[in-house]
Symmetry: C2
Amino acid sequence: MGRLHREGGLKPMDAEQLRECAHKMVDFISDYYKNIENFPVLSQVQPGYLRELLPDSAPTHPESFQDVLNDVQAKILPGVTHWQSPDYFAYFPSNSSVAGFLGEMLSAGINMVGFSWITSPAATELEMIVLDWLAKALKLPDEFLSIGPGGGVIQGTASEAVLVVLLAARDKVLRKVGKDAIGKLVVYSSDQTHSALQKACQIGGIHPENHRVLKTDPSTEYALSPESFCEAISHDIASGLIPFFFCATVGTTSSTAVDPLLALGEITKSNGMWFHVDAAYAGSACICPEFRHYIDGVKEADSFNMNAHKWLLTNFDCSALWVKDRSALIQSLSTNPEFLKNKASQGNMVVDYKDWQIPLGRRFRSLKLWMVLRLYGLENLQAYIRNHIELAKMFEELVKQDPRFEVAAPRKFSLVCLRLLPPQNNEDCANKLNHDLLESVNSTGKIFISHTVLSSKYVLRFAVGAPLTEERHIVAAWKVLQEEASALLRIL
Amino acid sequence: MGRLHREGGLKPMDAEQLRECAHKMVDFISDYYKNIENFPVLSQVQPGYLRELLPDSAPTHPESFQDVLNDVQAKILPGVTHWQSPDYFAYFPSNSSVAGFLGEMLSAGINMVGFSWITSPAATELEMIVLDWLAKALKLPDEFLSIGPGGGVIQGTASEAVLVVLLAARDKVLRKVGKDAIGKLVVYSSDQTHSALQKACQIGGIHPENHRVLKTDPSTEYALSPESFCEAISHDIASGLIPFFFCATVGTTSSTAVDPLLALGEITKSNGMWFHVDAAYAGSACICPEFRHYIDGVKEADSFNMNAHKWLLTNFDCSALWVKDRSALIQSLSTNPEFLKNKASQGNMVVDYKDWQIPLGRRFRSLKLWMVLRLYGLENLQAYIRNHIELAKMFEELVKQDPRFEVAAPRKFSLVCLRLLPPQNNEDCANKLNHDLLESVNSTGKIFISHTVLSSKYVLRFAVGAPLTEERHIVAAWKVLQEEASALLRIL
């Protein structure tokens, strides 16, 4: 395989050169998956490792594709943390799949920039259709479907999803009370809500002292209590402030807690607030009838978000957001420069997704979600989710059988929170012990797990959800945890 | 090729199934490029066309890959506007290339989520290195390199780039004057600046009446005059307002005007303002020594942005942003939740790009830029840019030779602005005439061009820059324009 610069000048998009190189890349990537268990899951390189290995400026003349592939193997892959490894149990999963990968390839091949309908009608229309499909699979209320004043849109991440709805809500209330009242607007969430909300507040200019971070505890399994929500709102109204936005979570990052949507939603409604539901991780599980009840109450929500790129086999990025009133989004995010005007847009005949998101340009991301839904079908996707939850249950049982450990929060989906108990119930050293356990487990390279803090306790998070994970990986992972725990306890 | 669901249950990431299907997809995409000239460039479908063709819910059972590919061919491609067609001359280009495509494939294959260094050190470090390479190729000041307090980062789009620096600048000044002064902050730009700045102001809560959109005209070739900038600032200061952000453009969207960076930059500096340079399109040309002078004065800038995904053969999305003071970005955009804490981050040993951007998650986008720079080399990339500029010059000459047309703004890079002159110099009908010409040209499906308005005149934009465009396409495009113009003039 030679240089891409052949006789007769550069041919940057020659179909036959593309065919030749891309076939080679397919084999490279397939081999990567075949051998993925051989890599340390968490990259073991030191900060700055790559600068030692690469030149400090771009080459003047072309290099060969084989040279680049060799460098990927020798220099890049050692610095990769392998999210697709079956031994990856950190954070939440970020699924790759054959179907998702094929969709990404096709999207990169067509390489259109779908900001307006006209720039590729198929991109906008497939997105509307596929998000309707997914909304129906999740049994979302009809108001979230694209046939009415609402609809779905693919955002890059849940952070962008919560940001755009926060902006829509902010501007909706400021249109009523005047923009100088921004310092009076209050946002509510629990202390388990993802930091994406805090970031959205920072971006949108909500004063940090007006973000109510309401405390949760084990008595509600870290779910927000409607009573404390109500109290906080009353207190703020009495102080002359304006409650305008609430973000509930179904499946919190730390422990997959589920806020009671129905009760909380009714409170937001009676106070005229925007109610956003973040189900970034756990939303995928709600395609199974037996888990759907976790989003009962979503009918009260103004917006709902789940990440198909987490646990629904759709390669990153694909964060599905539905809103009941798309005009609120559009009023906040639209601009209408002359150079983008066209008959379809000016005639209000179409959706222009540029006005539903932060960036102008957008990729053809619906292709991968469409391929996932078609190539697997809903029944298989449900089985896929159920299998992970069964594996997590199995892991939970293993933890329970070892008296040195405790399950640190109730397991609802595929995340198990666990903790190594300190010897002689000495809680003073418990956090350090678990921190050390995390470090030693992850340094083995055999598995990768992450942590959180719940009620001041340092807790290990074991999240099942990589597409290649099987029972044997769970068993082996537990063995690693046990062995590292034994080693730590020995030297105490 | 059968269903992905085989005997023995779903295998969503089976290496051999991936190999089989992805080889087939490579051939599909290569054939697409082989036949790309046979499609209408601008999709000719009607709004809502796709809903007629697809079922209204996701399938319960898996479908075959061949069925999906057949649908892509029969139902999706007719709704695609072919940005990679050699006959695409609308907006600005959005380059695809063999190298860029390979990088996208690899990124989708690894499918990691690189929010923090630890989540894949190679993703963060390659991005720092490759943006240093590109900064050097552009001869950006050393303060933009990652060795000091500055550095580069890949954003999705220029919209996100201007937003994050606007937020950094906003918070920097609000830390001094207090956050209740947000209503006094003033942003400056010319009337040629991209609408992304207006959107950033809306998001960041800058009052719309405090966005000074300074008029330009043909006397400066639509560049902003330092005098009017100075005047506006003085006037605002006298009114008790606080000038804090200025966005200059190198290569405006409407006509590729170039704001005089040096003079404007000195004014921002003496007024303590943040100076952002948006060279989204024309930045790529500045890797050629003969065009580098257009960004002379960038040394005054606090931030500089160019889109490698526009005209530098890197598949969408890859918007390169450099800042001199990364701590300003980080102060605005960082959050530090417990569940993301890790030794490398807490020890300040690494860059965590999550704090340089809006979303949390991020793809491995540096791979494609790295592949483009290595597989083509700077000399070929320069030749690639020069070739497009030569083709644009050729087109400009063709326009000049036809007395029915005029070149409507000076050509600097690869965009030609042109206008069909109205018969009998009747300016009243000139705008409608050119609007009708645009519609009729684009309805042929033979080429796709776009438009703008300059000094109240409706102007056609002909932007050369697709990787497959050759001289013969320019000649044929001009013939289409001439023929449609003749037809229109006949019926007047």
